[in-house]
């Protein structure tokens, strides 16, 4: 049976603001799942708190809307318990990089096979427009009473330095391109992070859909707008580590970090960095300690007999402590 896009939709009333970038991200996720023919019950979509947090309710798959900033930790636990699950996290910029910063950082050290999608609109929407950790220093949106006095975090650089092995940036209204990024992230074995730029039409009057479309930037020849975002892959940029040798990895990392600071009238979107040579956490456990972990998920292990007695006899373990 071929799964259709509609198989990933729910009947739940969507209460995001009209024009919200979240709609584009939601569609891209649903299209990616359909393209990859991932059965809805095998996907688990986690989220934190905020507008992005509502994403799982709109997707027909296991949906886990967790705590502010903690979606990633929930997702890591679930993935380890059942490595066969396709695990996605719909994160917010404040959710992931602010309150959840510690989890965001440390997940990189593990490289658990999951995909993080940051809904990055520079503001805390649901609490009425405060500056998020990705809003630039000195920026004053209409939601702010005073210009932002804290510097922004660069999510691409942060992810690469933290150890994520697939790092990309998308744009919410370049949905087909974003869909492909999400598919690549899902297919990548390891922790994938996709920072998705999106307008907040309610609280951010600066990074609007028109701003991204470059309405203010006219091509002198044609007189037409020049979109701010451009596709990295169309510029000959090669993000993929080919040999896994340290020298090459360092070169790719440096290239990606340099690229990630390009901003303003030219904003690159696409894959910045991908290293397929780093073993996942699950593989590390299997290789060094628990060979069975990739063969039998912990979630499928038999622990009890039908009469409720333990299925595993631990007498030999107890004997070590017998006196």
């Amino acid at each position: 049976m071929v799964l259709k896009l509609t198989d990933y939709r729910t009947e739940v009333h969507n209460n995001w603001c009209p024009g919200c970038g979240d709609f584009g991200i939601l569609s891209a996720v649903q299209m990616a799942l359909a393209d990859l023919q991932i059965p809805p019950h095998q996907a688990a979509v986690f989220s934190g708190i905020g507008c992005s947090g509502k994403t799982p309710h709109y997707i027909n798959a296991y949906g886990i809307h967790t705590l502010h900033g903690r979606g990633l930790a929930f997702a890591e636990g679930a993935k380890l318990a059942n490595p066969e699950l396709e695990v996605l996290l719909a994160a917010g910029d404040g959710d992931f990089l602010g309150i959840g910063g510690n989890h965001a950082l440390h997940a990189g050290r593990r490289n658990i096979d999951l995909t993080v999608i940051i809904h990055d609109n520079f503001v805390y929407g649901l609490t009425k427009g405060q500056a998020s950790p990705t809003m630039g220093l000195g920026v004053k949106t209409k939601g702010l009473a005073k210009p932002n006095i804290q510097q922004d975090i660069n999510p691409i650089s942060l992810a690469i330095v933290a150890g994520y092995t697939f790092v990309a940036r998308g744009y919410a209204y370049d949905t087909r391109h974003l869909k492909e990024l999400i598919k690549s992230g899902i297919k990548h074995k390891g922790s994938a992070l996709i920072d998705v730029l999106q307008p907040c039409p309610t609280y951010d009057d600066i990074h609007t859909k028109d701003w991204y479309a470059g309405i203010d930037l006219k091509d002198p020849k044609t007189g037409r707008p020049v979109p701010r975002t451009y596709h990295l892959e169309e510029t000959g940029y090669d993000p993929v580590v080919k040999t896994g040798k340290e020298e090459e990895v360092v070169q790719k990392i440096n290239q990606a970090i340099a690229k990630s600071f390009e901003w303003g009238n030219r904003i690159p979107i696409g894959v910045f960095y991908q290293n397929p040579f780093v073993p996942t956490f699950e593989e590390r456990l299997a290789e060094t300690r628990i060979p069975a972990i990739l063969k039998v998920p912990a979630a499928s292990m038999k622990i009890a007999n039908p009469d409720g007695t333990p299925a595993v006899d631990i007498t030999s373990l107890l004997n070590r402590f017998t006196v």
């Binding site: 930790a73 890591e76 409720g308």
Partner: protein
């Protein structure tokens, strides 16, 4: 006097082999089938500060520590200053004579207050004193002095074995154990066997330690006749287990099918997770198809939420922590509550508030555990009374969590966590795994994870299960798990969740909620919980023969609280005394809240040291004799 109960204390700087001395001693006694009760006391420090281990031994079961010490084994000065006063008449201090000239002021780790207390005990209000004076004072109160010249003995041995004497100086702790056993006339063969086990796989360490033990054993034998106490092996052939509380919990979790634990390092909880990691293939080697995932997370927020994530995927999941870490887990506990996710938190209580006494014992997290997380939601909170209970309770915690689909907080104290004790062999046939209501067949119509039911418990699917798609949210939700703020759905969901606690209260058998010891209508009823059980039962054994009619009520289940049964028991006695290791009397407060009965007499301890049986018996007797007294505060322990 014979060897009914022999208390032995070994002390020394942290990292100097105190723990391994105690382990070898406990193993030697276990070789002779004696039973052990051990307490480990140490500073929040890696090397240098004073640590000591108390081991009480008997042919019968030992549940707590009495007041006096029969043999004090030392190899440096501070242990003498801190513990010489506890040695009983006819008991012994083993010490290094080369330390005699050291002045108290020259011991860098000795707190000024501790030095001052020592001076006062010797009748000196101020100034300084030498170790020689401390020892002389002990001798004047009837203590047998046993100087063991460790350095000289190791020099001689080094020559004999052709080994660097510096190397042998590492065996000083074993020599102190050997001298101790020699004094009490306990056979050296048991010690040799213990050394073989302790240093298994290291033949040169075995040779050296056995030789060092022989030398010290022989040397100390000349003092044997002076000692009033002897220790002899037991005739029994019965096998038992020698376990720490953290090990008992870990084994209980493994036996009951726990397969995932996430944790962040914290004293004293970490030992449990370390143990689980050591035995992650359940003792069956790398070919094992069964395994236990132990995840060291970045903080306790991640520890609790990872455990919830793993539980959603269908694995019996837990985390273990102590006060500060537990404080960070509040939001996760609430999420587990509203989403009805099975979650087990093993909470090893230490001295609070804040960082408090990180390596000491206390019972001050009871009310916090009961009110953990904002808002109203059901949770089960229960406490184990000893290491044996820890094993079975660890498994029951999973059953409660899965059957009632709620967070379960299992309370244990540091005292039980790190103390090594002999317990009866665990009976694996008593372990039962109840996974509760899991989705097994596809339901008619769409699956509703939070379907309204008679008893509030809905069928649970696990992530990845076909036909079980559902949603979870920390927001109030409908039967599918989607956000709602509809007042009627809110009312029904609230009632559904809280109903489960009533069901738990009805179904959980009384013996898992409370245990009553002693005569039915006693003159005096002692109430306590957790590790207090051991000292209370031993105190009863002292008080009953004196003619006191006294009983002990051990409370295990704090939520749901057995209000009716407790009320009924409280009415049976005209004098009720609540014993707790905290300042505010948290159990007494809970009892008042749940039964309306206000307990007005209390025994409290908040030094971070466990309650001893003798100090408790003495405090209770003072209360029995004087009805006007309302509070006794205990202080035993250096």
């Amino acid at each position: 006097m014979t060897d009914e109960r022999i208390t032995w204390v070994v002390g020394g700087p942290q990292g100097s082999g105190v723990d391994s001395a105690a382990t070898i001693y406990a193993r030697a006694l276990s070789e002779g089938k004696l039973q052990i009760y051990g307490e480990r006391e140490y500073y929040s420090n890696i090397k240098g500060e004073h640590s000591y281990y108390t081991v009480v031994a008997s042919k019968g079961r030992v549940r707590s520590r009495p007041s006096g010490v029969h043999v004090l084994a030392t190899f440096e000065e501070e242990t003498i200053v801190k513990h010489a006063w506890d040695v009983m008449r006819g008991g012994a201090i083993i010490y290094d004579p080369q330390n005699e000239s050291t002045m108290l002021s020259q011991i860098p780790t000795l707190e000024r207050e501790a030095a001052e207390r020592a001076l006062v005990r010797m009748g000196k209000g101020f100034g300084d004193a030498s170790i020689r004076e401390v020892i002389a004072h002990a001798e004047s109160t009837g203590t047998v002095l046993v100087p063991v010249p460790y350095r000289e003995l190791t020099m001689q041995l080094g020559k004999k074995l052709g080994v660097d004497p510096g190397r042998l100086s590492r065996s000083v702790n074993v020599m102190a154990v050997a001298a101790s056993l020699s004094l009490m006339g306990y056979p050296i063969e048991t010690l040799n066997a213990a050394i073989q086990k302790q240093f298994s796989g290291k033949p040169s360490a075995i040779t050296e330690n056995v030789a060092a033990a022989e030398v010290a054993y022989g040397y100390a034998s000349k003092f044997r006749s002076k000692l009033h106490y002897t220790l002899t092996p037991s005739e029994t052939a019965e096998n038992r287990l020698l376990l720490q509380g953290t090990q008992a919990v870990a084994l209980g979790k493994i036996a009951a099918g726990g397969r995932f634990q996430s944790y962040y390092p914290i004293s004293p909880a970490t030992d449990e997770s370390f143990f689980l990691e050591e035995y992650e293939t359940l003792g069956k080697g790398s070919g094992s198809q069964d395994y236990f995932i132990v995840m060291q997370s970045e903080d306790e927020i991640a520890a609790v939420t990872m455990a919830i994530g793993a539980s959603l995927a269908g694995v019996r999941s837990s985390t273990a922590t102590s006060g500060p870490g537990f404080s960070l887990m509040m939001e996760g506990i609430g999420w587990s509550g509203i989403n009805e996710v099975p979650l087990v938190i093993t909470l090893y209580q230490r001295g609070g508030p804040s960082t408090g006494l990180p390596t000491r014992s206390e019972q001050s997290d009871l009310l916090f555990a009961l009110s953990a997380g904002h808002g109203d939601f059901p949770k089960i909170v229960f406490a184990s009374g000893d290491v044996e209970e820890c094993f079975y309770d660890a498994g029951k915690a999973f059953n409660y969590a899965e059957r009632y689909q709620m967070p379960v907080i299992h309370l244990i104290e540091k005292q039980l966590a790190t103390g090594t004790v002999t317990i009866p062999p665990v009976d694996l046939s008593k372990v039962r795994i109840d996974r509760g209501r899991l989705l097994t067949t596809t339901e008619d119509g769409p699956f509703k994870r939070f379907r309204f039911t008679e008893d509030g418990i809905s069928t649970r699917s696990v992530l990845g299960q076909e036909g079980g798609i559902g949603w979870y949210t920390g927001d109030e939700h409908d039967e599918f798990g989607h956000i709602t703020e509809d007042p009627e759905t809110r009312r029904r969901m609230m009632e559904k969740r809280m109903k489960k606690l009533e069901v738990a209260a009805r179904e959980i058998p009384l013996q898992d909620k409370m245990v009553y010891y002693g005569p039915n209508s006693p003159d005096h009823l002692v109430v306590g919980w957790g590790a207090t059980k051991g000292a209370a039962l031993d105190a009863l054994d002292t008080l009953s023969p004196k003619g006191y009619s006294v009983a002990f009520l051990q409370l295990k289940m704090m939520s749901p609280f057995p209000s009716d049964q407790v009320s009924e028991i409280l009415k049976r006695s005209s004098d009720v005394i609540c014993v707790e290791s905290n300042f505010t009397g948290q159990l007494a407060q809970l009892i008042a809240q749940k039964t309306g009965y206000v307990i007005s007499r209390h025994v409290h301890k908040y030094t971070g040291r466990p309650i001893g049986s003798d100090e408790l018996a003495e405090a209770l007797e003072r209360l029995f004799k004087d009805p006007s007294r309302s509070l006794e505060v205990l202080t035993l322990g250096a």
